[in-house]
Amino acid sequence: MREVAVIAFAQTEHTDHDEGLTDFELIHPVIQEVKERSGLSRFGFTCSGSCDYLAGAPFSFVSALDALGAWPPISESHVEMDAAWALYEAWVRLQHGDVDSALVYGFGKSSMGDLREIMTLQLDPYYLAPLGLDQVSFAALQASAYGAGRAELDEIVRRSRADGRNNPRALDLDDPSGEEFAVQPLRPYDVAPITDGAAAIVLAAGDLARELAERPAWITGIAHRIEPHYLGMRDLTRSPSAEAAGRAAGVGKGPVDVAELHAQFSHEELILREALELPAETVVNPSGGPLAANPVMATGLIRIGEAAARILDGGAGRTVAHATSGPCLQHNLVTVLEA
């Protein structure tokens, strides 16, 4: 495949409340930031990820286009998925060989509605959605099936929140405490916080990447897989689609210094570590991960951005990023980045 690298990454200072910003106002600064960091003002291809149901209106990505300065008109597309899949589409487009750069961005304001109930709408509308099981209840089913120990989950949350406090972009959340349950066996702190935010990445191919970045984060593997929707057809104790995507991306072909995992519930980190066969020495979610900031529709892209940033800044040689979609880790995308 053609060599493609992440050469710039930017994200908002994520908030746990609505700051009154429109989508345009949320996105515009991060777009400007990656343009400055990459040194590019025009791109061969642009792709974004967002969700109309978060905005509560159709075509939420249309007004976002105003943030790009898309004039003269640009070659552009959009996925109604986490922007990690927009990055995948851009990576595929760069494989054609006729364009050398791509801008990818994602954004979401989950403060605007009841995210737990909104996510129920992504279930089978005839047989599952009417049951009214919300996102946390679904996750709790998986946590029960997996049977994670409480001490282990608490340690994941404590570590994530501590790392998040050291990350100026993530939320400042206290060490986990309290005995009550959100939905048994999950406590409120096992659940990623409601977050507003946006992120953007610039990809460049071959010589352009080498020219624009001192230490490009080369994408040496990227793959995604979906699995059946119905929980009754799945073994909830593992994530076969993450396993398959990880193998296809070549996670195991070398050491993994850092892994940024899109674990929106603490137990998902355990399932994903096993699925991706991460070595014990791999540092997981040094950014704090989704448990410290979860701007839905950008969270997966931020995992790629954070994993790439560790390479761009010289701190790591080989990193892995994971993004997920659908209930109980139904759909997983794995990216391997190397210096």
Binding site: T22, E80, V92, Q330
Partner: protein
Amino acid sequence: MGNRCAVIGVGQTRYQTRRRDVSIAGLVREAALRALEDAGLTFKDIDAVVIGKAPDLFEGVMMPEAYLADALGAAGKPMTRVHTAGSVGGSTALVGASLIQGGVHDRVLVVAFEKQSESNATWALSTHLPFNASLVVGAGGYFAPHIREYMRRSAAPDHIGTLVAVKDRQNALKNPYAHLRIPGINRQMVESTPMLWEPIRYLETCPSSDGACAMVLASEDKVTGTPAWVHGTAMRSEPMARADRDTVSPQAGKDCAADVYRQAGITDPRREIDVAEVYVPFSWYEPMWLENLGFAPEGEGWKLTEAGSTALDGDIPWNASGGVLSSNPIGASGLIRFAEAAQQVRGMAGEHQVDGARTALGHAYGGGAQFFAMWIVGAQKP
């Protein structure tokens, strides 16, 4: 453009107001199975699935690819959901083709659908973000002023829209999948229907349809049966809020056409393209797009329509299938254009086949006439 890519299978459902007999999953599966059958393949042969549809509010199912993975045989494979407003059907085909052109996969299933009977699309299109005043109702309310401006600029006579409405519905009578099939359709019938958004009458608008369309795309090595080769693909977008943007003949449409023509080696679209399937949801968009796509000089698109050039027996048939004016499962409408273009160059369009069609244009647009997706397909390998 990357590796060669061809359409080797096309499947459509019958388009109609309500498909009460199938769920959303049943609807998309029907189209997918027909496309696979056409290609002589099964779900097992498919490497990846790309699905497109217009806003999720239309059916009230958010990110429906999660729920539809099973029905489309996607489990264990990559699946992608595309959404680029009204152009989404076209974009879905292009994202699928891109996977092959980029050398990532060999056989990709692309599917697009809308089940408009599950909700009210005009309502779903009339809600706005907070603090944005909603001054229009539905897409017709938005586009009618652009049409009036076109009529002012071009001095086109009032009856041009009626001619398109009649021509496309006459074509639909030859298409077994078409939603609106109105025997004896004529100008008087169109002119007697109520005015919805001046100058758009009821029969000058597209219907609300349930339906799905699917295609199997293949790399050169995996071509089976009768291929339609992809000669060019392009997408263009421009911002909604640019003050001096020309919404009557958008720059993004001109640029997208120029890009796709350049790839396909087309310098004179009127002469070198044999048939075009173009997104015309309101009758007047035929003359407007004739100009935007370079088939006629500015201000003269309506003359081609009036002369009958775009009729099935004209020198450049537009929407031989009956077009969006005859069938409109919104999210699928663009993919249907792309698929019908492919069927024409495969010689498999049935009763609405344009004799000897070798090169065809598929076109879709969306948003405030700001998103464009196009491809050129040909009977010959590029």
